[in-house]
Amino acid sequence: MRQNKEVVVFTLVVTFILFCYSFFAAFLHTDVLHLKNVSILADIFYDKDRPSPAKPVIPDTVMSATDRIADEPLPGMDTGKKIFSKYLEPKILTNFSADNTKPALPRIMARLHALKAGKKGKIRVAWFGDSLVEADILSMQFRKQMQQYFGAFGVGFIPATSITSKFRITATHNWKGDWVEENFKSKDNTAPLFFSGHTFFTGNGEVTIQDNTVRDTPAVQLLEKSLICGPSKTGTISLVVDGKQKQYRADKLVNRILLDNRNSRAITVGISDSKVPVYGISMEPESGVIVDNFSFRGISGVELGKFDSSFLSTLTAEDNYDLIVLEYGANILFRPNDIDYSWYGVSMNHVLRKIKKAMPNTEILVISTADRAFMYDGQWRTARGLYNLVKVQAEIAYNSGGAFYNMFLNMGGEGTICKWAMSNPPLAKEDRIHPNYKASIVMGDMFFQSFMDEYNKAEVKKK
C-alpha cells in the first residue's frame, strides 16, 4: 500500500510547492531562475503595474527628426512648405507637402493621366525590394491593378535565372544550360549589374518564359518580348528565338533587343556567347504601365550603390524609368535590440544621390519596412527599433524629394505580423518577417488605393 500513497503524496507535495512559489512570485515580483514561466497562478492573477518588457521605442524619443532631414535637398525637390510628421498619417502616400491638394509623385501622375486620356507611351516602374517582394508577390498586385485601370498587360522584367522562379505565379520560368552568375553579393564583378542585382553569362544557355499576367487582362495589345543584355565585342549577338537563329545588334552598354512582338505569351531564347552579360527578358505591352520586380533576397537597399553610373545613364537614355519604388526593412532590422538606424539613412542618401544624378527624370518612392517581430523574453513582439527605422526611411524619402508610404502603419502597426502569423488562415510566415501571398494581395490593394488617391488629386489639380 506504500506505493499507492507515494503517487498521492508526491502529487500533493509538488502541487503545494508550485502553488506556494507561484503565489509568492506573483506578490513579491520575484522570478528566481525564470520560474514564473511555470507559475500555476499566472492565468488568474494579473499585474497592471508590470511594465512591458519589450515595448518599442516611441518616435521622437531617441533621435531628432529635424537633425537629419536638414541634409541638403536633392535637385528637383519641391521647395514648398513641408511637414515631416506626415509620414505618420495612415492610408496616404505622402510627399510631405503641407498643401494637401498637391499630389505626390507629380510627374508620373501627369504621365498616367496622359495615358488614360489616350496618349501612347510606356510608363515604367522599378520596384526594388528584398525577400518580402520576391517572386513578385506585392508588386504583382500593384501591377495587376494598374494594368486593369490603365489597360495593358505584361509581367515586365524577368531575370535570366532565378531562385524564386518555382513560386512566381506571374510567370512560368525555365532555363537550361550552364549559367555563371555575378550579383550584389559576389566579389570582382566583371560587368555592370542590372537593376535586378544580377548579371549572367552563358555559352549554351536557353531560357523560356511564359507570361501569366496575360490571363488577368484582355489581350488587346501585342506583347513585346525583349532580351536585355550588355555589349558584344563584335557589336552583334546571335540568338536562337523560338528555334530560329537570328543576328541582333548589341553594341551599347545596355541593349534592349526586341525579339518578338506578336500576341503569343511565351518565348524561348538560346544564347551561345559566354562573353555577353545577359540580364533577362522583359515581357511588356507596346503602350501602358510596366512594373518590373527587382527583388534581391537578404539586402537592405544600400547595395543599390553598386550600380555603375554610366550604365544607369545609358539605361535611362534607352528606357527611362518613371518611378523607383524602394521597399526594404527586414534586413536592416536584423538585430533585435538595435534602435539607431542613422547609418542607414546616411548610406541611402548617398545611394539616392547617385541614382538621381544618373536618372534625373525618375521619381522616388520609399515604402517603409513592414512589421517584423523578434522573441523578447519568450514572447514575440514588434522589433524594438522598428519605429525608428520607419522614421529614418521617411527621412530618406524626404531628402530625396520623393514620396513615402508607411507600410508598417498601414498594415496595422505594432503586433500585426504576430497576429498574422497566428491567424487562421495565416497571413504571415512563422518567422514573423514575411507576410504571405494572401496578405500581399491585401497590402498591394491598400497601396494601390493610396497611389490612386494621389492620381485623383492630380486630376483635380489639372481641372
Binding site: 502529487t11 531562475l33 525564470h34 520560474l35 492565468d43 488568474i44 531562385i163
Partner: protein, 495 residues
C-alpha cells in the same frame, strides 16, 4: 499588486479552443491533484473509482475538445450496445451485419469529420463540381477512439472475449484520460480486466511512472518544442527562403521533433496510467535504431502499426495468405490507408505510400537476398549502412508528413538537392548552434542502449520521496528556461 481575476478564474473551468487541456497546462496540476486524491480515496471501491475516472476523463476531454465530448459518449453507447448484440446473436449473417453496422457508424463519423472536405475538394478539382467546403471542426482524438471502438467490436465478433457488461467500464476504456486524445490505442482485452482489480501498485511502479512522465515531458517540452520553434517551423513554412543546408538540418530536426513530441506524450500517458495501476504497453522503442523499414514499424507508433497489422492487413486484406504479389499489394495498401488515417491530405497519402513501398521492397529484399543477409547480419558495417539507409529513408518520408502541401515538399526536396553547400556553415552555425546542440542531445538520448531505461527504473525504485520531488523541481527549472509563450500543440493532437 497582482489582482485576482475572478472572471479568468471561472473561465479556467471552461473549454478554451486556444488553450486545450494537455499534460503540461497549469490547470492539469490542479486537475490531477483532485483526481488522484479521489482515486486514492476510492481505491477499494471499484464502482466509485471507475465513476471518478469516467467523470474526470469526460471533463478532461471537454477541456481538450469542447462539446465533442458528447461524441465520445454517443460512440461508447453505440459500440457498447452493438458489441453485446453481436455477442448474443447466433445467426452468423446477422452477426456480420451488426459488425458492418458498427464499422459504418464508426468510420462514418470519422469520415464525416475528417475527410468530407478532402473529398469535396477532390470532387471540385477532378469532377468539376462546385461544392463549397463545409465548416467542420475535427474532434480531438477521434482517430484514436474510433480505432479502439473498431478493434473492440471486431474482437467480440471473432469471439476473442466476452463484451463488457457494465457500461461504465466500457466508457472508462474508451475515455481513460491519459490516452484519450492521442493514444496509445489500447485493446479492450488488455485494458478492461485491469479496471476490475483494486488499486494496488507494485514496488517500483511509482518510480517507473515517474521516469516515464519526466522523461516524456523533457522530450516533448524541452527538446521537441525548442526545435519546433527555432528551426522546423521556420524552414518548413518557407523552404524557398532557406538554403539546402538549413532545409536538410530542418528535416533531421523534424525527425527528432516528431519522435520526442509523440513518444514523449505517449510516455507521459503510459506513466500516468502506471501510477493509476493500469499497464499500457510501450508505444515507441527507439525507432531510429531500426535496421530496416519493417523493423522501424515494429518500433514506431507500435499501437497503431499493431492495429493496422491485425485489423487491416490480416483481418481485412488477408495478410500474406493470398500469394506473394498480393502480399506486397496488401502491405502497400495498409500503409497507404495508414497514411490517410493521419490526415485528409495528399501529403499523408504519399507518406503512407512511400512507407508501403519501402515495406514491400524490404520484403522482396529479404526473400531474394536471404543468404547475403544471414551472412552479414552480425557485421557492424552491414548493420551501420542498413540503419543509415533506413534512417535516411524515414527522414525523406517525413518531408511529406510535415509539409502542408505537395508544393512545399517539392521545394524542400529541391532546396536540399540543388542548393546544398557547406560554404554557408559559418553563418548557419552562428544562427543555429543551440539548435544543433539540442538536436545532438535528442539523438544522443535516442542512441542509448534499450536496456538503460529499465536499469534506471530499477535503481531508482528505492529512492526516498524527497529525491523524486527534488528531481521534479529540477525538471521544472530546466523547463522554465525553455518554455516559450507560443504554445506548441502536440503534433498528433490534430490527427
Amino acid at each position: 499588486m497582482p489582482i485576482f481575476n475572478t472572471q479568468e478564474f471561472l473561465h479556467q473551468f471552461l473549454y478554451d479552443p486556444k488553450n486545450p487541456l494537455l499534460f503540461n497546462n497549469g490547470f492539469f496540476v490542479y486537475f490531477f491533484a483532485a483526481f488522484i486524491s479521489l482515486y486514492y480515496a476510492f481505491r477499494n471501491n471499484i464502482k466509485a473509482r471507475n465513476l471518478v475516472v469516467t467523470l474526470f476523463s469526460l471533463y478532461f476531454f471537454y477541456k481538450a475538445s469542447g462539446y465533442f465530448v458528447l461524441l465520445v459518449i454517443v460512440s461508447a453507447i453505440a459500440d457498447y450496445l452493438l458489441s453485446n448484440m453481436i455477442y448474443r446473436e447466433q445467426d452468423k449473417r446477422k452477426k456480420k451485419l451488426l459488425l458492418a453496422l458498427s464499422i459504418v457508424v464508426n468510420l462514418g463519423l470519422l469520415f464525416y469529420f475528417k475527410y468530407t472536405n478532402f473529398f469535396l475538394s477532390f470532387s471540385n478539382q477532378f469532377l468539376a463540381t462546385h461544392i463549397n467546403p463545409l465548416n467542420i471542426l475535427l474532434p480531438v482524438g477521434i482517430s484514436f477512439y474510433t480505432f479502439e471502438n473498431l478493434s473492440y467490436t471486431i474482437d467480440v465478433y471473432r469471439g476473442e472475449f466476452e463484451p463488457e457488461k457494465k457500461f461504465i467500464n466500457y466508457i472508462v476504456f474508451l475515455s481513460f484520460f491519459p490516452k484519450l486524445v492521442m493514444g496509445p490505442i489500447v485493446r479492450a482485452k488488455d485494458f478492461l480486466p485491469q479496471l476490475r482489480k483494486p488499486y494496488e501498485l507494485q514496488e517500483g511502479d511509482f518510480a517507473k511512472g515517474f521516469y516515464l512522465i519526466v522523461s516524456g515531458l523533457v522530450k516533448k517540452l524541452v527538446i521537441s518544442d525548442y526545435l519546433t520553434l527555432n528551426i522546423v517551423n521556420y524552414v518548413f513554412d518557407a523552404p524557398s527562403l532557406h538554403t539546402g543546408l538549413e532545409c536538410a538540418v530542418a528535416v533531421f530536426a523534424y525527425a527528432i521533433v516528431i519522435y520526442c513530441d509523440f513518444s514523449g506524450y505517449s510516455d507521459v500517458a503510459i506513466g500516468i496510467a502506471k501510477w493509476l495501476g493500469i499497464t499500457i504497453p510501450p508505444n515507441f522503442n527507439l525507432p531510429y535504431q531500426s535496421k530496416s523499414i519493417t523493423e522501424f514499424w515494429r518500433r514506431w507508433h507500435i499501437s497503431l502499426s499493431a492495429w493496422l497489422k491485425d485489423y487491416l492487413y490480416i483481418f481485412w486484406l488477408g495478410g500474406n495468405r493470398k500469394g506473394r504479389v498480393r502480399t506486397y499489394m496488401n502491405l502497400f495498401i495498409t500503409m497507404l490507408l495508414g497514411g490517410f488515417w493521419h490526415g485528409a491530405n495528399w501529403t499523408f497519402i504519399i507518406w503512407g505510400g512511400l512507407h508501403g513501398l519501402g515495406l514491400a521492397v524490404h520484403k522482396i529484399w529479404m526473400e531474394r537476398a536471404k543468404g547475403f543477409i544471414e551472412k552479414n547480419e552480425d557485421s557492424r558495417i552491414y548493420n551501420f549502412f542498413a540503419g543509415l539507409l533506413t534512417f535516411l529513408f524515414v527522414c525523406f518520408c517525413w518531408i511529406f508528413f510535415k509539409s502542408p502541401d505537395y508544393a512545399t515538399a517539392s521545394i524542400m526536396i529541391s532546396q536540399i538537392f540543388t542548393d546544398f553547400s557547406f560554404s554557408v556553415w559559418p553563418a548557419f552555425w552562428g544562427t543555429y548552434h543551440n539548435v544543433i546542440w539540442i538536436m545532438l542531445l535528442g539523438y544522443a538520448l535516442h542512441m542509448v542502449p534499450e536496456t538503460l531505461p529499465g536499469q534506471i527504473m530499477e535503481r531508482t525504485k528505492k529512492l526516498p520521496m524527497a529525491a523524486f520531488i527534488i528531481t521534479f523541481i529540477i525538471f521544472l527549472v530546466v523547463y522554465a528556461q525553455f518554455k516559450s509563450s507560443t504554445p506548441v500543440m502536440p503534433i498528433y493532437l490534430k490527427f
